[in-house]
Symmetry: D2
Subunit: 362 residues, 4 copies
């Protein structure tokens, strides 16, 4: 159906199964004249790539090839196709469990929906699909950068350990997060997060957390009421990322315990409108205010765990399962670039809908 | 642009400003042959209507008229248009503040986006627009009822007071909530919620809360990966409702502190697949599992408060404002039927996308 | 489903059955700040209205009311809803034939598709639905006028009589067509067309013809390859108008007998690109060239005729039918404003897609 | 923007420039469980491939690879990606004319729209893009075949020579057309067509023609009034194919000279509804009648001709051009499989919209 396409004017369509020939995407609607190279994409893919000492041992180089839409280093305004071949594919561990529905995974639901499923590495439901989102998001980010818009994500919380970024500039948050094994800009919190993750791995278990994305430089006026409000669109984008169970903007769930007099962001005029706080998270009535947009995603603990779990097979047998394969005990750090990509796609689309990006640049 | 249409196959387009001639909607895509009367719609509109002793004193009868799409008591498969005239309209209190951007409202952002705004009663950004959502949702609910699907919402939390529905059946939750002034099925919690609301009103202030919606009878297989996942679609629907700042499904934000071994819902075979818990909230990999779908929305305190707040005018003056008009000190109870409507629209659309509802009934 | 919405950014959704309460539409996506009154719409509706001495005796005043989206004489950027009540409704002639499938009509196909149909006056399949198209098109025309774009249609051929507009300016074509009973700017041809129509009516029969629409002032660059090419979009728009059986652009079907050396429009540079002919009809590779866009629709003879025809009932009986009701013996003149409306909707949408119309004016 | 995606539920997105790395497509929405191999696609691609003695000497093997969406020989319900590498690419003849706008081509309009263009072999505007349409259509055809629906095209007219297929069955038309160098099932007409084509080639010129597509086995009820009527959708699909200047259905442009009493297709009951003629071309009121659907496309003479033509450069110079490259003097025969593909895509989509194809097969 229409499930694999995201966006209205700046559109991403992704394809690929975890152990199939390739994963990739088509970006349709990118303005012509944008300078774009495979390096621009690769840089973002490398941020998402498995391979840290805390992460899955699957070793994919994730080399991207641009198949169309770019000519002499510039976008043509035609569909940009990007492809990453699947190389370090080992389907054997999956063969043994191909009839088993893994708890916390989409095995049963894909089977219920499609009557067939590619059991190799989770097939289409694998987080490997997010390679394509990051590739598409890389183009959106590059485009937004030309209009002074930045998208920065980081690990806000892991296994109950929260980090504190107060006092840090956006660039400091970004650079510290990139140096951190868990994408946490607060080194105190980082240490404890790592401990919890290592501990969970030892137990054959996993932990969850929260990722935050901050978008700066957004002009006021983005978002399409009443259904395609900017916050609704971002919630849609985030909740569709694997393992996300909740989304909040600005004060989010804390707002429910606040009074109106506390929550409302007051305004003052100082050569323009200035908000005195940002409980709104940069969006009022579904339209950007011009403040930073701040959104968070609640990410569940990785579903694949070595611990024995009770489950069933598609033949109706009750069995025990211990998921081996290659998995991250905490998916939050690798979710960060994916959430950034989704945020960038939303903002690029809203910029185009608002008529703020021309059909060709330069 | 495309912001006022919701849904792919079962589609709702809403229109209307708070103090304009009418609010209403077109539902396109409803199967032919569904029995439908104005009473079916009115029943749901009456649930949303202002007028309880805790609510806004605006007295709208909200009488709906069906203008098209129904013939001899049955839907034709053609667009169903519903209209509710705005009658108890008093724009005078708004006239005084028409150049002022109210804190917590969309006044400034509408102005930034459109360069013009209907300042009467909030115009298009008014919660009055949700009349049209409830009207559209009423048709979705009726349709889903024919397939054994129920959508029930209630007030889960107000101003820090949480209610407990454990042990109650879905029908009990529904009937108790309907009898409650604050749509809370737990009479103990209800009393305290009312106290907090009354107190806030006395102070010229407002409070927020959480609404929960439960959907039962959903077959497995609904939702369209990878972007139009069922939970992503529901998050989109909920976050687009006025005043919502966060959305979570199943364990939601609690999931971030859980381990994989706790969070994963184990399965057993008992004449079919049976899940031993429902942390997933009825959705895995973006596809329904067949369990109840459980979603919650964080609702901020009403933005309109009598307390004096600092703000600005569109002419760049700093002013103080006390918002008079007619407002609810807590919007959660009236948000409940709106969230139910949105949930019903999502499920109806997904049922059609999955091919489970024929183009004509009976 | 999604059949009743037209357009991507400038969107029209229509509703209404011929003898229901009302017909009307929602226009979503019109920029804010456009001056718009009911008179602007009424003027176009009056052009489509039945009532000339050659036309159906149904006497509808077709008074339009704007229900939303306009405030103090300007568009708000929110959905604009327009409604025309059905007043001169006489369903009795239809009651007798409600089980009969009229030849050349959609009676059987609506029944096959929906399992139910509103037999009064053709229900949704009635050409009365085009009231809503003309209302929507009136807004598109007004908007395009601000950018120097004109849309002019006229009757090119009726019953084998072709008219000649060579040497006339666009404004002359428009003004002459408006004064003609058959919307034909060539008075010689007009006389013969009228004779043929009167003759057909006497025989209880009907005739067909060709309408041409010319769009001037279109900038180069409109149209979205490879599927939403400008000519493809226009063909889609025209073929969806009741009674249209063919569409052609520029040289159209004459092109098939031409050689490449005749057909290709040569270019010269004279302070800009100048084409030496316009066989392309203003579109190359699906994108506007900046020349006039010239399109024609082949319109079949009116299906409703008094002459006796063989047909069947929904109960499987063979019967004879003579369609009484109130009908035009030639629909071409009244199709002209409808085709103009559709052309205007396409161009407005393409202008927005190309980023040439801002989100708010003035 | 959204121009490169076709369809609502059965969706094709194409990519690729003529001399880029590859052309290809994603088909999203194909039901799961359909048996599908690369051979199924290749068979159709081979029908479109250049290389007959009358055609362009570009020698592409057009080998398709399926990158995703198929597992163990069956579709997964996930996006099916198909890629064809561009191999026999010779951009040198284009280098010389890269600043020249070729008459009858999209050179100027792409430049006007995008501000940049890939001048190698026509870039995105090349008919090479239709490889992807044929690949997507091959899946649609295979799917429709399971429901008894056939799509057959042939060359109806070339350079004024019309062919006669009266008395032939659909299968005979198909098999004779496939054996013919010009896809004409009438050997008498074929001979003359070939003569005209050879003659044109000698003159450095080109000729046009008409292709007809017949779709049999279509159930009544397909098509979505009022805008997405089946005939409107087909017209959209056909007019978007390169070189098409007109589209007609059933009696088409002949209808304009007919009377209603001639044109209306009478019905009789013989164990079901039987139409006594098919002037409608299988569609009434935009909905299929169950009769054969018959549509024709007017195809202009190939724009690339050796004859010298006057034109301009992007620098504003007046020049003469003789287009060398590798071109077909008549594109009609190779347009046939492309038009078939488009027709199949439309019908597959309408079948799904009408709920007649389940989400998984078998």
């Amino acid at each position: 159906m229409t499930g694999n396409t995201f966006g209205k004017l700046f559109r991403l369509t992704t394809f690929g199964e975890s152990h199939g020939r390739a994963v990739g995407c088509i970006v349709d609607g990118c303005p012509a004249g944008l300078e774009l190279s495979e390096e621009d994409i690769q840089k973002e893919l490398d941020r998402r790539k498995p391979g840290g000492w805390l992460a899955s041992p699957r070793k994919e180089k994730d080399e991207v090839r641009i198949l169309s839409g770019v000519f002499e280093g510039k976008t043509l305004g035609t569909p940009i196709t990007m492809m990453v071949e699947n190389r370090d594919v080992d389907s054997r561990p999956y063969e043994e469990i191909k009839d088993i529905f893994r708890p916390g995974h989409a095995d049963y639901t894909y089977y219920a929906k499609y009557g067939i499923r590619d059991w190799r590495g989770g097939g289409r439901a694998s987080a490997r699909e997010t390679v394509a989102r990051v590739a598409g998001g890389a183009i959106a980010k590059k485009l937004l950068g030309m209009f002074g818009i930045k998208v920065v994500g980081y690990t806000k919380e892991v296994a109950g350990i929260e980090c504190d970024v107060s006092g840090l500039t956006l660039d400091e948050i970004a650079s510290r997060a990139e140096k951190s094994d868990v994408r946490c800009p607060d080194s105190e919190a980082e240490k404890q997060m790592v401990e919890r993750i290592v501990e969970a791995r030892k137990e054959g278990d996993s932990v969850g957390g929260v990722a935050e994305v901050i978008i700066s430089g957004v002009p006021p006026g983005l978002g399409e009421p009443v259904f395609w409000k900017l916050d609704a669109y971002l919630a849609f984008a985030f909740m569709g990322v694997p393992a996300v169970k909740g989304v909040e903007i600005g004060s989010g769930f804390r707002a429910v315990k606040m009074k109106g007099s506390e929550h409302n962001d007051r305004m003052r005029w100082e050569k323009g409108i200035k908000f005195l706080s940002n409980n709104a998270g940069g969006v009022l009535g579904g339209i950007s205010t011009g403040q930073d947009i701040i959104i968070r995603a609640a990410i569940k603990p990785t579903a694949s765990i070595a611990k024995v779990q009770k489950t069933v097979t598609l033949h109706g047998e009750n069995v025990d399962i211990s998921v081996r394969g290659r998995h991250d005990p905490c998916i939050v750090p690798r979710a960060v670039p994916v959430l950034e990509a989704m945020a960038a796609l939303v903002i690029a689309d809203c910029m185009m809908l608002q008529g703020l990006i021309p059909r060709f640049l330069g």
